[in-house]
Symmetry: C2
Subunit: 201 residues, 2 copies
């Protein structure tokens, strides 16, 4: 008996429901919002998505996503001259570091972490290309900016082993108290690390 | 210094951030998800949105959204023969009632509630068209299925006044304990209404 709102609308709801953070209910709400603002939001969004689909490439050097290959970061001479390469798990981490204005650095996106249980081995990540990139020269320091999780740290150790023997300094992000964080809410591991790595005041 | 990910990606993030329930952060996450699944999700979603944009109409009879005008509900003979018209604030409410399988009913979407503070008067809602529709005959009962808010109830009273003199029965949804609800968590108003409207067991 229940009436459906036409195949175009139903399909839009179903596809929107597959976005992260969206379910059937919020997808319906978003669809109605799009229909209400069809001129100012739905039409531009459809075009923007189509343009992104046609133009976005994965950078063959660092695996960043951009509309150019190599990407805008890999071809930025202010960055290539510095020799500092930050290894991240994901493009989201690259974006987060860029928002923090970390300076003229290069990146290498691994595309995940080692996870034997999920069947993710070294050949599934961009580790060989990292090795080749460092071997090609011009990189003086590799910063492992992986997540402070078990998988992230395992991956960091593996990457370090693979880079052994190459003439490059390998560092990792500091552990410590987040800016604005309250000690009372921090786990013991972080507090212990922060005390060990204390600096002059 | 901060690098941006190309105008196509930036624009997609900004437009997605305008969806209800989305902010800059979740829009970035959704954009990365779309880029990762560009063949199976981004491209179909762009097409679905474009098709919906081109085909979705507002029904000239009831203000429902559909790809046909009059909409599939207004032209359904099983519904038009029953003479039961449910007045709702929004298309979302119409969809919610249809999901509840309420039977072969017709709808009239007001498009909001009276709200003098926000400058929403009777002429901004589909009240005149409701009046005309009832006056045209074929409707035996009008059910006011507006939200149980102050604005919703004010609107219900106004609609009732406007329909006065027409040969039609006017009813409203029952108040009571939601199915699966616990009494302890219900407000006093609902409990009092539920007791007053108690039924035989």
């Amino acid at each position: 008996m229940a009436h459906t709102a036409g195949p175009e609308i139903e399909q839009l709801i179903q596809l929107l429901a597959r976005l992260p953070g969206f379910g059937p209910r919020s997808a319906r709400r978003a669809t109605l919002h799009l229909i209400k603002k069809r001129e100012v939001l739905m039409s531009p969004l459809a075009s923007a998505m189509q343009r992104a689909f046609e133009n976005v490439r994965t950078c063959s050097v660092c695996a960043n996503v951009d509309t150019a290959d190599p990407c805008g970061i890999c071809t930025d001479v202010r960055r290539t001259g510095q020799g500092m390469l930050i290894v991240v798990e994901d493009v989201a981490d690259l974006w987060a570091l860029e928002r923090s204005s970390v300076g003229p650095v290069l990146y290498h996106v691994l595309g995940g972490t080692l996870s034997p249980l999920d069947g993710v081995g070294p050949e599934d990540l961009n580790i060989a290309s990292l090795n080749a990139r460092v071997a090609a020269g011009g990189i003086s320091e590799v910063v492992l900016a992986v997540n402070a999780t078990v998988e992230g740290q395992t991956t960091a150790h593996y990457v370090t082993d693979r880079l052994a023997g190459q003439n490059v300094k390998i560092t990792r992000l500091a552990h410590g108290v987040p800016v604005g964080g309250e000690l009372d809410y921090l786990d013991e591991g972080t507090l212990a690390q922060a005390l060990k790595a204390r600096t002059d005041f």
